[in-house]
C-alpha cells in the first residue's frame, strides 16, 4: 500500500508526459499539416512577403526549435497572439469566454448526472424487463442525437412554436448582472438582481438540457452496467439478510460501490463535455469558448485556434488529474 502523498505525486508526474505529448501533437498538426502563412495570405502572395512573415512568426527555424520556443512561451502563460484582432493575447480572449462555458457545463453536467444515475439505477433494478430495454435504448439513442439537431428541435418547439423560452444567447440585452464570478445565475443571486436571474435562467434551460441529454446517455449506461455488477455481489445479499430496507441497500450500499468505477470514467466524460459544449454553444449562440473557437476557425485565425486547443488540452489534463486524486480519497481500499 503506497502512501497517499507518493501516489498523488506520481500521478502528477504522469500528467507531464501526457501534456507534452498533447502539446507535441497539436504543435505538429498545426505547423506541419499545412502552411499557415499562405493560407492566411490567400496563397497568391509574393514569395518575399511570405518569407518575411514567416521570419516574424519564427516559422523559419527547424521544427524542434520552434517547439521549444513554443514551450517557452507557454511557460510564460503566452498562448500566442491573435492573427486577426490586432495581436490580442489569446489567453485573455479565452478567459473572457471561459465563465460562460463554465456555467453551461456545470448546469449540463448536473442534469446529465441526475438523469443518468436515476435511469441507470431504475434500469438495473428491473433487469431485462421492458423498462430496462427502453432505458438501454435511451442510452443508445441519446448518443446518436446530433447536438446541433437536438438543439434545433428544442429551439423549434419551445422557442419558436411555443414561445416559452428564448432561442439563443445568454441573457436579454442590457440585463447582465454585476460581474463577480462571471456566472450570471450566481451573480444575479449574489446581487439580488431578480430580472437578471430570471433572464439568465431562461436562457440557460434549453442549451443545458441539450448538452445534458447528450451526456446522460453515457451515465445511464455506465450506472446500469456497474449497478448490475454490484448487485450481484454477496454483500448486497448479506445486507438484505440483516433486514436493511431495500432503498438503503440500493442507494447506500450498491450505488456507492457502483459509483467508483463511474468516477474513473468522468475524465473521459469531461472530454465529451468540451466537444459537446462547442456544438451546443454554436447552436445556441452561447458566448462561450466553443462559439469563440468556431468563430476563429471561420476567420482562419490559426494562432488563436491553436492556442484555444492547447488551452483545452491543459484543461483536460488538469481535470483528469483532479478526478484521479478525488478517486484516491473516495476509495478506502487505496488509501489504507
Amino acid at each position: 500500500m503506497v502512501s497517499l502523498r507518493v501516489y498523488i505525486a506520481r500521478r502528477i508526474l504522469l500528467s507531464i508526459p501526457m501534456i507534452f505529448i498533447l502539446l507535441g501533437v497539436v504543435f505538429l498538426v498545426m505547423r506541419v499539416a499545412g502552411d499557415p502563412v499562405s493560407a492566411i495570405l490567400g496563397g497568391h502572395a509574393p514569395r518575399e512577403q511570405i518569407e518575411r512573415i514567416k521570419e516574424q512568426l519564427g516559422l523559419n527555424k527547424p521544427l524542434i526549435f520552434q517547439f521549444f520556443d513554443y514551450l517557452w512561451q507557454l511557460l510564460h502563460g503566452d498562448l500566442g497572439r491573435s492573427l486577426i484582432w490586432g495581436q490580442r493575447p489569446v489567453l485573455d480572449e479565452i478567459l473572457e469566454h471561459f465563465p460562460a462555458t463554465l456555467e453551461l457545463s456545470i448546469c449540463s453536467f448536473i442534469i446529465s448526472i441526475f438523469i443518468g444515475i436515476f435511469t441507470g439505477v431504475y434500469s438495473a433494478r428491473r433487469y431485462n424487463k421492458p423498462v430496462d430495454h427502453s432505458i438501454r435504448l435511451y442510452g443508445i439513442v441519446t448518443y446518436a442525437l446530433f447536438i446541433p439537431w437536438i438543439g434545433l428541435i428544442l429551439q423549434l418547439i419551445f422557442a419558436v412554436y411555443l414561445g416559452w423560452l428564448p432561442t439563443s444567447l445568454r441573457i436579454d440585452t442590457l440585463m447582465e448582472p454585476q460581474t463577480i464570478t462571471g456566472l450570471y445565475v450566481l451573480d444575479s443571486i449574489l446581487t439580488l438582481n431578480t430580472p437578471s436571474l430570471v433572464s439568465s435562467v431562461r436562457h440557460l434551460i434549453l442549451p443545458s438540457i441539450t448538452l445534458g441529454i447528450y451526456l446522460s446517455g453515457i451515465f445511464t449506461r455506465l450506472t446500469r452496467t456497474h449497478m448490475l455488477e454490484v448487485l450481484e455481489g454477496d454483500f448486497i445479499r448479506a445486507a438484505r439478510a440483516r433486514g436493511l430496507p431495500e432503498r438503503t441497500v440500493i442507494y447506500k450500499h450498491a450505488l456507492k460501490n457502483a459509483f467508483i468505477p463511474i468516477l474513473t470514467m468522468m475524465g473521459l466524460q469531461f472530454a465529451m463535455l468540451l466537444a459537446g459544449a462547442i456544438l451546443t454553444e454554436t447552436t445556441f449562440s452561447w458566448p462561450g469558448m466553443g462559439t469563440f473557437l468556431a468563430e476563429r476557425i471561420l476567420y482562419r485565425d490559426f494562432t488563436t485556434v491553436q492556442g484555444t486547443i492547447v488551452f483545452f488540452a491543459f484543461l483536460i489534463v488538469i481535470v483528469s488529474l483532479v478526478i484521479d486524486i478525488i478517486y484516491v480519497y473516495i476509495d478506502p481500499r487505496i488509501r489504507y
Binding site: 454477496d234 439478510a241 433486514g243 436493511l244 430496507p245 460501490n257
Partner: protein
C-alpha cells in the same frame, strides 16, 4: 410443540430457468427447537444453501418458494409481506455467509456495519449503538481499535468474525450459518466453529450449520439433516447418525471422512456424481449411486419413514 422454534413443512423451492425447472428443494420437512444446533449436510447442489436462504426468503429470481410452510414461532413466513419480513431478518433470524471476503461492503468501516444494523432495527442513539457494536466485536474476539477499519484490512477469519458479530447483534432466536468455514483455512475453521458454539451457549439461540463437511457437524450438532439432490434423505441425532447411519448416502459420507488415527485408511468416495436437477432420475434420486439399489428404488420415490425413535430416513431400506 411450543418449544419448536422453526417448523418446515413440505417446502418446495424451484428455479425457473430457460432450460426448465430446477427443483432445488423438494418436499423438505424438519423442525428446530429453541436453542438447538442443527447441521445440514450435503454436496454442492443438494439444496442445502437454498434451504437456508429460503428460511429468510432471500431466494433470488428466477427462484421461488413454490409450496410448503415455514412456521417460525407460529407464523408462516411465506405469508408475510416484505415489510414484516424486514423485521424478522437480522433481528429474529439472521445469517452468516460463506465468503467473508465478499460479504462485507468494501466501502464501509466494519464498525459502521454493526451500527447500521443495530440502528435499523432499534431506536437507539448512535452513541449507544456504537457502544453495543464495540462489545459485540469484543465478544467475537476483535480488538476495539479496529472499529474504524475497512474490510480489506482484515484477514478472512477476522472478517468472518465480523459476519458473526453482525448475525448476533440483535440477539436473534435463530442463526443460519451457510458454509461459514468453507472459505477459510483449517485452523481458522475450528476457531470459527468454536466461536459459534460458544456464542450459542452464551446467548441461547438456535443454530443451523450448513456445510458439505460431515465431520464438522458430527461433534458439534444436536441433530443432523442430510440433503441429497433437493431431498431430505436422513434426519437424526448426531450420535445416531454417527453410529447408525441408515441411508446409503450418509454411510458413504461417513466412509469418506479421513480418520487420522487409522494407520492405513482407504478413502472411499461415493461413485458417480450428483444428478442434474433439471432432470432428476425417476424414483429415488440416489439410486444410480446406491450400492443397495433395488428394483423398487427406481420405480418409486421413497417416502420419509421413521426407522426408530425419530430417526427419519428416505429409503426403502
Amino acid at each position: 410443540m411450543r418449544d419448536r422454534l422453526l417448523e418446515i413443512e413440505d417446502l418446495k423451492v424451484y428455479y425457473y430457468v430457460r432450460e426448465g425447472i430446477v427443483k432445488a428443494v423438494d418436499d423438505v420437512d424438519f423442525f428446530v427447537k429453541k436453542g438447538e444446533i442443527i447441521g445440514i449436510v450435503g454436496e454442492s447442489g443438494s439444496g442445502k444453501s437454498t434451504l437456508g436462504l429460503s428460511i429468510l426468503r432471500l431466494i433470488p429470481p428466477p427462484g421461488r418458494i413454490v409450496g410448503g410452510k415455514l412456521l417460525f414461532d407460529g407464523n408462516d413466513l411465506i405469508k408475510l409481506d416484505d415489510r414484516e419480513m424486514l423485521k424478522i431478518r437480522g433481528k429474529r433470524i439472521s445469517m452468516v455467509f460463506q465468503d467473508p471476503m465478499t460479504s462485507l461492503n468494501p466501502l464501509m468501516k466494519i464498525g459502521d456495519h454493526l451500527v447500521e444494523t443495530i440502528m435499523t432495527h432499534e431506536k437507539v442513539a448512535r452513541k449507544r449503538a456504537e457502544e453495543r457494536a464495540l462489545s459485540l466485536l469484543d465478544n467475537v474476539g476483535i480488538l476495539p481499535d479496529r472499529f474504524n477499519d475497512y474490510p480489506h484490512q482484515f484477514s478472512g477469519g477476522m472478517r468472518q468474525r465480523v459476519g458473526i458479530a453482525l448475525a448476533i447483534a440483535l440477539n436473534p432466536d435463530l442463526v443460519i450459518a451457510d458454509e461459514p468455514t468453507t472459505a477459510l483455512d483449517v485452523i481458522v475453521q475450528a476457531k470459527i466453529l468454536d466461536l459459534l458454539k460458544s456464542l450459542r451457549d452464551a446467548y441461547g439461540m438456535a443454530l443451523i450449520l450448513i456445510t458439505h463437511d460431515l465431520s464438522i457437524v458430527l461433534e458439534r450438532c444436536d441433530k443432523i439433516i442430510v440433503m441429497y439432490a433437493g431431498h431430505l434423505v436422513e434426519h437424526a441425532n448426531s450420535a445416531d447418525i454417527h453410529k447408525n447411519p441408515k441411508h446409503p448416502y450418509t454411510q458413504g459420507l461417513l466412509r469418506s471422512i479421513p480418520n487420522i488415527e487409522l494407520a492405513d485408511q482407504k478413502l472411499e468416495a461415493i461413485p458417480g456424481s450428483p444428478p442434474d436437477l433439471l432432470n432428476p432420475p425417476k424414483g429415488c434420486r440416489f439410486w444410480p449411486r446406491c450400492p443397495y439399489a433395488k428394483k423398487k428404488c427406481y420405480e418409486k420415490d421413497p417416502p420419509l419413514i421413521d426407522a426408530e425413535h425419530g430417526h427419519l430416513v428416505r429409503c426403502f431400506l
